[in-house]
Structures are given as C-alpha cells and as structure tokens.
Symmetry: C2
Subunit: 190 residues, 2 copies
DNA sequence: TCGTTAAGTTCCAATCTAGAACTATCGCGT
DNA sequence: ACGCGATAGTTCTAGATTGGAACTTAACGA
C-alpha cells in the first residue's frame, strides 16, 4: 500500500495516517504546537534533513494542516502556521504525549507538564464520551458501519483494500502454482 | 535521527512516536482493536508484506504493546493480543479516527460509527482536562518542564525539549569553506 | 567585499520497503 | 503414503525513501 492509496481507504484512521502517519510529520507537528513557525526553527530543533523537511512541510500545506504565509518581502520568506484543521490535531498530540508520560518515562518522571489555563492546574488529558461524559474504555465501545462504509458489490469486488496479493495476480505464469481454485472467503454483502 | 534514538529523547511524544510512529504499526494496531489476532489476519486485511508484518509484530511485542501467546501446540502457533500498555493506546486511536471523521470524510459520511455501551449512543470522543473536566483547547494549555526534563544542559533552557542537534555542531569548519566562490554569480533581479 | 541568515535544492550513498518465492509443520483426503 | 492447504515466518532482489552534506539565491550589515 502506498501513501497515496491510504487516503482513499474507507477508514478514517487510514486516511488520517495518510496525512500524519510518519515520524517526521508527527515531530514537525509537535514543534508547531510548541510555536515553531519557520524552516530553520524546525530544522534545528528536530535535526531533520532540510530535504525531508521541505517535503513534509509542502505536504502538510497541501493537505491544509499548515498555511504558508509570508512574513517579509525583501527576500520572500514564509512561516508555517497551523490552520484550524491543524489545530484540531491537538487531541491526537495530547493522547500521544499522555501515553508516553504513562508508559515511557524513566525514573525521573515526565519531561513536560501541562497546565490548563482555565483551572490553573497541571492535568492529564482524559478521553470521554460526547454523549454521557464517561471516560472511554476500549471494551465498552462497539463499532458498526456508518454511511460512508464500503459497499462491496456482491458480483464485482475487484478493488478491495484487502487481498492485495490477489489483485496483482497478473504474473500468471509464475503465480499459477497457487492460482488453483483458491477457495477464498467469498462472502456476499448482506 | 534514527528510530532507536527517538526513544531516548526527553520528550514523551518522541518516545511514543518511536513505538507507534509509522504507518504500518498504526494500521496493525487498528486491526488489534478490531480484534484481529493472527499473522494471516493482519496480512490479509492490511495487505502489508509478510516481511514487514513479522518485523513490526516483533517490535510491538518487544515493546510490551502486544503479547505473543500460543494457541496451539502441534505446529506451534501464536496469536498477538494487546497488553494493558497496548490497550492504553485506545485514546490515541480514537483521536486519530475522530480527526479523520471530521476532516477526511467524503460526501457519504463516516465509514464507521462508535457506540458507547454504557449509554447506548453513537458518540464521538472528546478530550477533557482531568482536573476540571472542561474540553481541552490548544491555546488554553501552557507547557512547562517537568522533573524528567533535559538533564545535561546546566543552563536549563526553559520549555525546550529540542536542541538535539548539539552534536552536529553546524558543520563548523566546513561551513566557512563554501563562502569562497559564491560571489561569482552575483546579479540583481530587477 | 565578506560574512551571515533564511529557505530551499541537488546529489550520492545507505536504508528500507514491496513483491514474490521458499521453508517448515501438521492435519486431511484419497 | 503422497500431495495439498493452512499458518507463520524467512529470504531474495529491485526499486523507493532517507540521511548527510554541499550548493543556490537573495538581501542585509560591518
């Protein structure tokens, strides 16, 4: 699966991963939330190669997560700031930081604390249900298909995100060994 | 920065990214939360190459996110299940899915809905402050160094988990050599 | 004129990934 | 007994991605 395909998948998680699912992008976004805005700022604080940084920034701009705005004209210079779409990534960042705070700290404790301006206290993020306000537990959540779910036509299901290996079955001569009546799980959509 | 170094960083986010910060790992974890447990299950639903799948599973087991448990003895077979450490990744997964639901859906709507067993309703996850219960906004949060903040720097840079290029030292000696021939192609652009 | 800052580009070598084949074991059908 | 299929990997090669460092462009200040 290539990066491009990821965004076409009928899965919000896959699509999001297509946007932020690589280590440098995530780190760049961390810097954005720590108020870094300029190319050199990202480069020196992350130690990313200039080449990749330019690439990733371009991609984030293309995807509407960052906006590139000029801050001087003389030699055209720009800075990168989070759009609303980018700011909305905040819960993801906090969830990641929190997991690290719980499971990856050494004996000395957390590297960074977070203070909530509203209540003035150091906090940790808690994910709750929008309907009842209770903290979410994986086992208390049941998933079911929504309106955007994949409807695989009963007769024609050639482009399935799964079964990649079969789709490429054009190497007929060599693949024939396996190409027997491969009684795969052929199920029809209800 | 290599993958290994990431986990040494004095930043919970970098450390977490060292564990789950690549596209396949995230996708594998999605499958785990959707109750996939076996090698073939992951392979066929994700279309990941067997080679990478084996590698990633091994890494997740090493890091304590998954546990490898035998489910039959004849030809030794194992399945991979989430440990508590792995289950704790749930908020990250939900945050990622939610962002996708908001920003990456097509006209048909969300591919997957989530029902909270406790209250019986379809919900979306909300991240709140553990202290006051209010939803978290990026601008209402202030970060400050905690006990595990960067060790070596005596001058203790305030709020700065960065500055990791220290060893690189800007290519000091060579940086000056290049200044030689640059004035040759000098012309003004209207 | 030199040196510096800022934001990229370009180039080559080192890694990593995709895709397909191969290995190993056991249980089954004939 | 023999071959087949299912499961879980491992190996191999070619192509894609990354890392590292130099080079470019443009303007400013000493």
């Amino acid at each position: 699966m290539k990066w491009g395909e990821l965004e076409e998948e009928p899965c919000s998680m896959a699509r999001t991963i297509g946007v932020i699912g690589d280590r440098w992008t995530l780190l760049i976004l961390r810097e954005c939330f720590l108020r870094t805005r300029r190319f050199e700022g990202f480069q020196s604080s992350l130690g990313i190669t200039r080449h990749l940084l330019a690439e990733r920034l371009k991609k984030l701009v293309r995807q509407g997560v960052l906006r590139r705005i000029p801050y001087q004209d003389s030699p055209k210079r720009h800075e990168y700031i989070l759009t609303q779409k980018g700011l909305d990534l905040y819960p993801i960042m906090m969830a990641i930081v929190h997991w690290g705070d719980i499971h990856m700290v050494d004996a000395r404790g957390r590297p960074l604390l977070h203070e909530h301006r509203k209540c003035g206290k150091d906090f940790h993020p808690v994910m709750v249900c929008s309907e009842c306000g209770e903290p979410l537990l994986a086992k208390e959540v049941h998933t079911h298909p929504g309106p955007g779910a994949r409807r695989n036509s009963p007769s024609a299901a050639p482009e399935n995100p799964k079964a990649k290996t079969e789709a490429k079955a054009k190497t007929e001569a060599k693949a024939k060994t396996k190409a027997k009546t491969k009684a795969t799980t052929r199920r029809r959509a209800a």
